[in-house]
Point group: C2
Chain length 420, copies 2
């Protein structure tokens, strides 16, 4: 542990980790607190959920990443509150004092006031979510193979993905490829190629943050993969048997939630009113009104760009904010000149749809199709955190590309699973 | 599905799967039933438990393995009984008729009449056991880092492995290497090199099935890795705080059970008295006394060699028995000449201890040390079921060998884990 000002960072996602690393040469002591022991490369989490990658390919122990950073320590624990008067972070049975606090707790799923849907339509935020979703998807095929009633069988082979943003598009494409290619010849009673994969989006088009021509391309590419796409179609009800759309019932064995996003309980901790999506409004220096030593970054923050538009909840924003807040802290302790206001440098956006289909948008430069798909794959391998993961992911992808197979088709669950 | 005699195989471990594959050209229809969707390469399961490999490296969907075998189908389901009068296997909500039944359900842990120890000292038989054990081991270090009381911290850093057979020796070596090498520099408050790893064996020496000189070597090699070895020391009590040995209390945060083995509920299903270890005594053709169409193979069977000694519960026995029982079935339907009595061809035995330390025993040929270790590694990669897994395991091992790191140091658990 270094000496100097105590900086506490809650959350070791893209934002928290980049803040910690950017403080490595500052005369401070950094404490990183996370509920998990690992940093997760969330952009590839859907590939764990669809049996293409293993959890260890996209997650690394936080303390391993910060091993050589001598002014940093890592604590695995759940934060239950923040005492901004005494400047302490409250854990279950311990308090950690700070001079500067960086809250980078990310986001969770939002069900728009229907939290009771969560059990029927789980979302995808962490490794347990992903292996549980993998279990549900693979088990639906197993149950269908055992089912003798035709209607029940078709219900089991119907997969609904709610939300047409990047995650929903990626999930829909991956589930379709899993059913129609990887599993195609493995069953005797059912034909997985007859599985229905339905992507439902309330808004007018898929991939709303992208230009309209790329949205239209994504929709065509998904249809080619056998995905039924419904845009302008809000979900009005979820239950154990399926979903209701406006004016239609879809019986489905598996419903996947890729729609709303809501920030973690930071607003509660600080006693500050959140916005509609549960985020904390921050100022141009990522500070919180009325608080001097606390900052919020990443998906937990509502941060506006120069035009007053909210910044998107993507890794690039969180990373830049993490580095920025490190600069602010260094300035406050007299270690550096103060930076100007935070400005997001748009790093572009990518989304993949399926085999040889993706979209890339760098503002003036945009492209799609196989070139975009290769670009997406290489960029994601590059962004993985170490050489082992890069080799492993490259190997798994190459294998899937050549064989159409998925390497991690495991249903893992406790022995006393109900319904066994 | 093929036509012909219906053969049902319960369990897709080494025995059941080899029986299924050996029937691929027989005029029968084969149904393989397993509670899991995957075949597991159990000899490397301890490497998942100690964060070296991922589950998908050593487990493959059963139906993927049998994809091309047209006379075979796979059902994922839990068997609850066998009706030998009507010749039906009973599942939760279905019955499957058979002409021939092969019971290959393997073994589970035995606590010698102390089943209440199971919760404190879990064993290692499936993927969920392994990721749960990985969680316990890694979390012990995380809790120790947070712990301020010296005695409690030392307790958290004490790991007891019960049972000095191959699994116990492998686990002890792997936990010691994890603590003393992979984690060595990742903590700030604790020094994982001070973790105690204690291997407890009730019998007079480690690796009892091996020659005495190899046992002695294993004990020396473990001590060099920093493992405390206690032989001739039965465990008399287990609780949440540790274990009692004869005359000594060991406070330990993690206790791992690698001792007894008991067969699955086959005896109950058949209404046949089991032996002391829960196995069904089978005759020289793997048949059960009083039953004509049912066979038991692998760890679930008590099968005697020519000298009247029970065959060991190892993969090679199960595989040979699986192939043998397929021959018997083919003979019974007139497809082949009947084989002689079952004879186990000893395939030798291997056990690894740690980095560059292993023992190999082929009867007349035996060796140990780095050569045995390389032999062990190459043999295990060779036995993995497909090219992807071989490449992936080779990559992970090479990485660990060069960096001393472990690639799968993940604590995965539901968000609402108690104690969070």
């Amino acid at each position: 542990m270094g000496d100097g000002s105590r900086v506490v960072i809650v959350g070791a996602g893209f934002g928290g980790l980049s803040a910690a690393v950017a403080l490595s040469r500052a005369p401070v002591s950094v404490t990183v607190i996370d509920r998990q022991n690992h940093h997760l490369f969330q952009p590839l989490l859907y590939q764990v959920a669809t049996a293409a990658l293993s959890p260890a390919d996209i997650a690394w122990p936080i303390r391993r990443i910060l091993r050589r950073q001598e002014n940093a320590r890592v604590l695995m624990g759940g934060v239950t509150g923040v005492d901004t008067v005494r400047r302490e972070v409250v854990l279950r049975n311990r308090r950690i004092g700070y001079e500067f606090l960086v809250l980078a707790t990310g986001a969770t799923h939002a069900y728009f006031g229907h939290d009771e849907w969560a059990v029927h339509a789980p979302g995808l935020k962490n490794i347990v979510d992903a292996t549980e979703m993998r279990r549900r998807i693979l088990q639906a095929f197993e149950y269908a193979e055992m089912e003798e009633d035709g209607h029940a069988r078709q219900r089991l082979l119907t997969f609904v993905i709610v939300g047409g943003g990047p995650t929903g598009v990626e999930m829909a494409g991956a589930v379709a490829e899993l059913a129609h290619r990887a599993l195609a010849r493995d069953f005797r009673e059912i034909d997985p190629r007859h599985a229905r994969v339905i992507l439902v989006e309330a808004g007018a088009r898929l991939l709303a943050p992208f230009p309209a021509d790329l949205s239209a391309y994504a929709q065509r590419a998904l249809r080619k993969l056998g995905v039924e796409v419904r845009v302008g179609t809000p979900v009005t009800h979820c239950d154990a048997g399926g979903v209701n759309l406006s004016g239609e019932r879809l019986d489905a064995g598996t419903v996947i939630w890729a729609a709303g996003v809501a920030a973690s309980p930071v607003a509660d901790w600080l006693g500050v009113p959140p916005d509609r999506a549960g985020r904390i409004r921050v100022g141009p220096r990522l500070e919180i009104e009325g608080l001097a030593q606390e900052f919020v970054i990443g998906d937990a923050a509502l941060s506006l760009d120069a035009d007053g538009k909210p910044l998107p909840g993507v890794a690039a924003v969180a990373k830049q904010q993490g580095r920025y807040v490190a600069q602010v802290i260094r300035a406050r302790i007299g270690d550096r000149a103060p930076p100007g206001e935070f400005r997001y440098r748009d790093a572009g956006q990518l989304a993949t749809i399926g085999r040889r289909a993706a979209v890339v948008d760098f503002g003036r430069i945009r492209f799609r199709g196989w070139l975009a798909w290769w670009f997406w794959g290489i960029a994601h391998i590059y962004f993985l955190i170490n050489v082992r993961s890069r080799l492993s992911v490259a190997l798994q992808w190459l294998w899937s590309y050549v064989t159409f197979d998925r390497g991690a088709r495991l249903i893992t669950r406790p022995d006393d699973w109900p319904g066994d």
